[in-house]
């Protein structure tokens, strides 16, 4: 199968970058394996470039609905015990998280 002009070469540094974006602490060993696997997969999916879709409207949804709204009415919230029950760490009825490095966006 001929490579399309989009055929990617996914390097380990590409994988490291993707892993960072996706908050995955991928190990060095995994980097190589993933790089190989992703390269193959991306090579296969790059086939989509072979079709002439210049005049085609993208389809993001199988359902042709528009304007689905709900009225501005208050509904009961979850009881706080339920909200916090599954939390890894709680303090003062809030979710406790370790120190945050990045500033608010």
């Amino acid at each position: 199968m001929p490579d399309s002009h989009l055929s990617p070469r996914v390097s380990t540094s590409d994988v490291a970058h993707l892993a960072r974006l996706a908050r995955l602490a991928v190990t060095d060993a995994e980097l190589d394996t993933f790089a190989q696997q992703l390269d193959v997969i991306l090579g296969a999916v790059a086939r989509v470039a072979e079709l002439d879709v210049a005049d085609v409207q993208p389809m993001s949804h199988a359902v042709a609905l528009t304007n689905v709204f709900r009225p501005d009415e208050v509904r009961p919230s979850l009881p706080r015990e339920d909200v916090l029950a599954g939390a890894p760490a709680v303090e003062d009825d809030k979710f406790r998280v370790p120190r945050i490095l990045a500033e608010e966006a």
Binding site: L6, A22, R23, L24, F34, V45, L65, P98, R99, L101
Partner: protein, 493 residues
Amino acid sequence: MTDLIRLTAAETAAKVATGEVSAVEVAQAHLDRIAEVDGGEHGGVHAFLHVDTDGALAAAKAIDGKRAAGEELGPLAGVPLAMKDVVVTRGLPTTSGSKILQGWIPPYDATITTRIKDAGIVMLGKTNMDEFAMGSSTENSAYGPTRNPWDQTKIPGGSSGGSSAAVAAFEAPLSIGTDTGGSIRQPAAVTGIVGHKPTYGAVSRYGLIAFSSSLDQAGPFARTVLDTALLYEAIAGHDPLDSTSLDVPVAPVVAAAREGANGDLAGVKVGVIRELGGEGYEPGVTAAFEAAVATLKGLGAEIVEVSCHSFDYALAAYYLIAPSECSSNLARFDAVRYGLRVGDDGNNSLEDVMSLTREAGFGPEVKRRIMIGTYALSSGYYDAYYGQAQKVRRLIADDFNKAFAQVDVLVSPTAPTVAFGIGEVLDPLTMYKNDLATLPASLAGVPAISVPAGLSEGLPVGLQIIAPTLQDDRCFKVAAAFESASPFPEIPS
């Protein structure tokens, strides 16, 4: 007494309604069966991740109480059901087959969970699945594989392998799965039962742990077409909590199944899709499929060959769209509000804890798809990958429309192979090819059902019947007709 676990759902409901058997007896019989065959991570069918003995018996008792009080019971009241663990169930552990949700007890019910409970259906427990519904063999479960009841060295299909195996193993007459690229149909095919992927939007997604928002649909599994139809009607219908759910009447699939059972397909045009066959499909599968087509013809259907060229690109488009959507849907698993938290040692930052948690909590297939999705949505790549895939999706939908202008239903083998060995397929891309025949219908959002169509090398083969959008009843009519003429192979037990 008839072996309760061999009854169909319809038969069970009828006996419960008359009082011939109690719902508690029925539930107990199935719980006993689970104890007998299900085993666990290291042996047995291992369809279940969690069996809710107390809850099931309590629900069954409530049904018996209602009956005794003369209250009207629904058409499936007292019938046991197994629920795929991707569906949120209040108070019952819900893992989505992943370590990252180990121990999570949801504080709310999915809409379909509520509807199932309201129908008086008795939920026995939660079933095993490929992690976050990503896979075709249930080998990606973080909790060990499920084994095909036909041959426990073989996979039961995926991602709804647990739900499918549970029904095939007579652990429940009904189960719920979800189908994103074939995850109901392919397991149904390789375990020899019926499984239906509804029209996208026909069944609420509220409470389905999301994999790919524009593709996910919950659907029914059962051993007969009628049972599958009955469960469909119990769960389908508009839900204001799901903005993508269709506000239309539920398709009359039960009536269609009953009508189809008379085996008359005169006037029905059946299209055989050229692209969903041939290279990549096992000869035994092809042979079984051809026999199935001949059966349909024998019932009066007119067989037409159709070509849908874009279907050759369905796999490529799907493996861009689904990972893209899941890379975003799975971002919420961040160790903050629920689920696993790893590395919170007082030194690590939150960013580190998030990354360590996701690394530990997600399996390799999930990580691969998250990274592919992240790549495909990246600025600079979006147009060529995700954007392009959406256009290919339009071509696939158009090809279906063109085909349905000529024929009433389309058919193909459900899967290119029969069940393969657990541990046999290690290469991701090879695994993806299990979805070759099921992907097009997923991308277009059209309804598709898989029915047992004979055996190949002693293992089940499925016939896929696809109908136009919203015409789920057409799938059931043709499926029921086929069932009447080609009885489903008996599942060994």
